[in-house]
Symmetry: C2
DNA sequence: CCTACCGATCGGTAGG
DNA sequence: CCTACCGATCGGTAGG
């Protein structure tokens, strides 16, 4: 929780960010248990013991990374989905943001999706709660579209699971220097989402 | 590779299977690097050193599990997709099998999707090759449907990524004692697949 | 299949 | 921010 809600004037140290960044890369490549504090230290040019001047523990680094990831996804959803507009526009915007996030944050996506069981109880429950919040927001968006007759009679639950998972998968294959631009991919997936729910406003 | 291609008359020991089973459960719960040989031994009531009478190494257990998983998925696809039938029937059958596998093998799905980087070079390349083979089979199935005008003009690559990922996701939430039966889920996802490609034969 | 044990590495602390 | 070091645990082997 060191990266959010810090109203104190003393800003977060650059070294702290540097260490977090190195940990994020290594956790995503080798997994939490496959990464040693010594490797993180080597990546930033410090001795292992010096890391503890910036972070309480290895576990704290993981918790900060995973909580921030879910908060970013939730903030992204809230920023682009306007409840005053149609469910079609909401779904298009949500899928666009969801895919953009995963295409540009493959390290966060990888860690977020494989290390839930590596978290200590308290932070695991916190991350689980945020994930549930995100899933519920999607499900409600789809339920609204179905109720208002804007979407076909699909299952909001199954459809939201399928769309979320498909979007997360983008983090596994998207490359900035590939044939498809970020705009292309985000647009294609948003169109897929509207096709899957059978939106009548497209 | 101890579970496949064993033409020798001496059959695979029950103990070997027992150990593999325990390793699969533990790897899926705590990850490969988060699991110790001592925990696997405790799960089957042996001392850690006795495991080495049945398996060469911890790494060998992981390789066997991950290779077998991909071979099962490929065999499942080949068993249900009949090239003589329509692309629509092929996609329906492929998605049905894909979802059934993931709903009933959540441990294998979890390990398969998070431990690729924990594999030693040789087996990692082997698993990567099998994954590529599976992805290509799906992509070709979709390309055929598009070429023959049976599906809409979707991107076989992106659509196959989305469908594969959505189906894998089922392993994360499906419960045998839940509201939806295995048949329900497999059927719903197969319908989603046909809707996503805009099949004209439904 | 076990006891006994190997060197290596783990996350983290003491003390300055 | 470093050196020096802690106890614990790691995967694996020797020998019977």
């Amino acid at each position: 929780m060191q990266s959010t809600g810090q109203a104190a004037p003393r800003r977060v140290g650059a070294r702290q960010d540097e260490i977090r960044e190195a940990a994020l890369t290594l956790f995503s490549e080798r997994g939490y248990h496959g990464t040693g504090m010594e490797q993180i230290a080597a990546a930033v040019g410090l001795s292992p013991s010096s890391l503890y001047n910036h972070w309480k523990s290895k576990q704290d680094l993981l918790a900060d990374i995973m909580v921030a990831t879910m908060e970013d996804l939730l903030a992204g959803f809230a920023a682009v989905v306007d409840p005053a507009r149609s469910a079609t526009e909401g779904l298009r915007a949500a899928m666009d943001a969801h895919v953009r996030y995963h295409a540009t944050h493959h390290r966060e996506a990888r860690v977020g999706n494989r290390e839930l069981t590596s978290l200590a109880d308290a932070s695991r429950e916190r991350v689980r709660g945020l994930r549930q919040e995100y899933a519920t927001a999607w499900q409600q968006l789809l339920a609204t579209g179905v109720e208002q007759g804007e979407f076909a009679e699909v299952s909001p639950r199954l459809t939201s699971f399928a769309l979320l998972e498909a979007g997360i998968g983008v983090s596994q294959w998207y490359r900035p220097d590939g044939a498809l631009t970020l705009d292309d991919v985000a647009h294609e997936y948003a169109e897929m989402a509207l096709r899957l729910v059978g939106s009548r406003l497209t």
